[in-house]
Symmetry: C2
Subunit: 434 residues, 2 copies
């Protein structure tokens, strides 16, 4: 870290620190999202200084700071005073070599490279440690879902023995789509490809090779089982038909591509397979390209992490979070929020939401007219009126739902409504979270 520069900013999340110079290797979807976040300078001590890519002239954009150096030569990065190298090129080569060179040159590394970390994560961690530098790879599994940090940090105090998850968005998109539409596999795959949720060659996703690399990383990080990804059994999701969802439903289940690892003494059970999961499980409710991981520990039971498993921006959040984690530890900070916010903000409950109002009335003509008049005066629109049969006229519950409006308008209406003589008990007004 450039300790001479002790720039601090009220906008800094998570700790003041000396400036940290960052280079990005690979200016694709993730790389440009990382650059975007760093260029917003919310994370003040992080400063983007280099972007390295082939054909860099074709890649240049005008929204990064002028002093960022664009280069095609990795040696420019290696020989610079960059603190953290972000590797988001993908592939095993030259990414692996470049990471080794960066660590050996005394730079910390953040990578999103699942195939590399699944194979060489342990070796690279040992090298980083030898160099008294750091390597972090939170973006290598489940993109924006902070499961690596969750296992390494939030659940560090437990003894985890089981990890189950949905780690491949392509498979989940296809399976949840077949479930919803009843369309056949090939048609659904073609749709996923047209929408960009599946690649032209979807083999790695469909056969489970992508997910098993991620499972190998989670097994090492969460279960301390260091196994090569190739040792994990995979099964394709090809062959799953709409009829399988019909029968699964009869069994109270649906079908998802589940990555599953369990420690049994010195043995690791692990597989990536299309699997029936109970409809009541959080895994059953994961739709589209979302990811979800459930970790089970001896003491803490089941913990769930869910969110966007892919995409430039979510993955870039994981990358930037890792850079911040490295700057903090190099500054001796634990994950505190040391700087007070710039000012204590004003606080209110003036949310703008739809509302649910349940009235309990002694029924007589004119009730709706009376209520409508009050709502109109308060500038509130009624969205729906619900009345279920089977209640006594002397204590009749019915519901009015309101279009989105400010809480204060509802409160004003409530004060006037409280005076109405047909109410048997106070109106129950609840906001609706959309």
């Amino acid at each position: 870290m450039a300790s001479a520069s002790k720039k601090r900013s009220p906008g800094l999340r998570g700790g003041s620190a000396g400036e940290c110079k960052v280079a990005i290797l690979g200016f694709g979807t993730v790389g440009s999202s990382v650059a975007k976040i760093l260029s917003e300078q919310v994370h003040a001590p992080l400063r983007l200084t280099h972007i390295c890519n082939r054909n860099v002239k074709l890649k240049k954009v005008d929204w990064v700071p002028d002093d960022v150096r664009w280069t095609e030569d990795f040696n420019d990065v290696l020989e610079s005073d960059v603190d953290v190298v972000v590797e988001v090129m993908g592939g095993l080569t030259p990414a692996g070599d470049w990471i080794r060179k960066a660590l050996s040159a005394g730079k910390s590394v953040v990578t999103a490279n699942k195939q590399l970390i699944a194979r060489s994560g342990q070796e690279l961690t040992v090298l980083a440690r030898k160099m008294k530098r750091h390597i972090a790879y939170g973006a290598s599994v489940a993109g924006g879902v902070p499961v690596i940090s969750g296992l390494q940090e939030g659940l560090a105090g437990d003894e985890l023995f089981k990890i189950c998850g949905i780690l491949n968005g392509t498979c989940n998109f296809i399976l949840s789509k077949i479930e919803a539409t009843g369309a056949d596999f090939d048609k659904t795959l073609a749709e996923a490809q047209a929408l960009g949720f599946a690649e032209a060659d979807p083999t790695d996703d469909l056969e489970g090779l992508d997910a098993r690399a991620k499972l190998a990383i989670l097994a090492r990080v969460g279960l301390r089982s260091h196994v090569p990804p190739e040792s994990i059994t995979c099964r394709t999701i090809r062959g799953i038909e709409p009829v399988d969802f019909e029968y699964s439903n009869q069994l109270g289940c649906t079908i998802r591509q589940i990555s599953w690892a369990e420690v049994h003494g010195e043995h690791l059970l692990a597989q990536v397979k299309p699997t029936l999961v109970a409809l009541t499980s959080p895994l059953a409710r994961v739709q589209g390209s979302q990811n979800l991981v459930m970790a089970t520990g001896k003491f803490g039971g089941e913990t769930v992490f869910g969110g966007h498993g892919a995409g430039g921006h979510p993955t870039a959040v994981a990358v930037v979070s890792d850079i911040i984690a490295i700057t903090r530890v190099e500054q001796g900070e634990v994950r505190d929020v040391p700087e007070p916010a710039a000012a204590t903000p004003s606080v209110s409950a003036e949310f703008t939401t739809r509302h649910y109002l349940r009235f309990t009335v002694k029924d007589r003509p004119g009730i709706i007219a009376a209520l409508s008049g009050i709502f109109e005066k308060c500038g509130i629109n009624i969205d729906s009126l619900l009345q279920r049969p089977g209640y006594l006229k002397s204590s009749l519950p019915f519901v009015v739902s309101l279009e989105a409006c400010e809480a204060s308008a509802v409160n004003k209406a409530m004060r006037q409504i409280a005076k109405l003589d047909f109410l048997v008990k106070p109106c129950m007004d609840l906001p609706i979270l959309d």
Copy 2:
């Protein structure tokens, strides 16, 4: 840290470190769970040295190491060489004073005290920083759900603007119970009290005072909005009736106690209220005393953290994870897994699960008999047989579900089944995750 002792252990999760001496203040449910985890010595560099409680003679247990010092006098802890003081007494006094004294004496602090951190978190963080020590409070919100570390670490790279959650297990137990049973509020509250899910005086939980302290902490940590808990509007869940769930369902919703904060420029919107949430939302599916937090960021979108919000063991996991985080930063470690596992374990997919087998056959007599014979020879029991109407006899799909058995037994049966002449296409066999 006692840097002279560089004990390392293959059992150590998340980094080797010098021995770290830990004192526990308060030997109640959480305190004894923390002692239990530390006494298992899986987290090798952590060593429990002191337990401080009133009437300590009545509290003593025989399963902590003999060299742990039991005391009623906080000064024994203060004057010792303890590195980390764990405060799990609860209440504002003397907890606040003791934490200040511990920090001032150069010790780091881990606490589960939500009311104290909601009020004094910022002040205590500043004090810790001044003393070059750390304070961590991951257990103060949502017990075992690693949401504080998730916001501070895993999502540090995002700009979060909204946090919504179910932060009070008592309210969620009551509301999800009314939803499931249709029983009235008072009866459900009494049941919750009988089962230990609600206290004799449940005011803090039902009125939202417990949840708003947690929301104030999350707003500070995740949204950088530092507001006193008293400034957050609360509404009781009393008055919610079974009929409200009926009407909510008509609107595609259910009702939960939702803690909700949103940043709008310099203004914070915040409230804790019973709220309608869409049945498709993860919040709607939280049952019993579970907790769930959804954080929304500018770049990463929605991220979900869920699990056990209370209970001695889950809360103790959060405490121990915080101690580990502090020892790591004091050792200059980022959240790597630096030590290779003791040995590369053997790996297999020999899970014992129920199975789903979908056959597609040319229908004729004797099919079930043929299959049953094979299953019997392989030692597999059939659980159910499902056949839906409306398919052609020439390509008839039906399903056999199997009782739990080893994958290898199913594979053996599959090889024999593949030879049967009535199969129109290969059998689709899927494991069932229970």
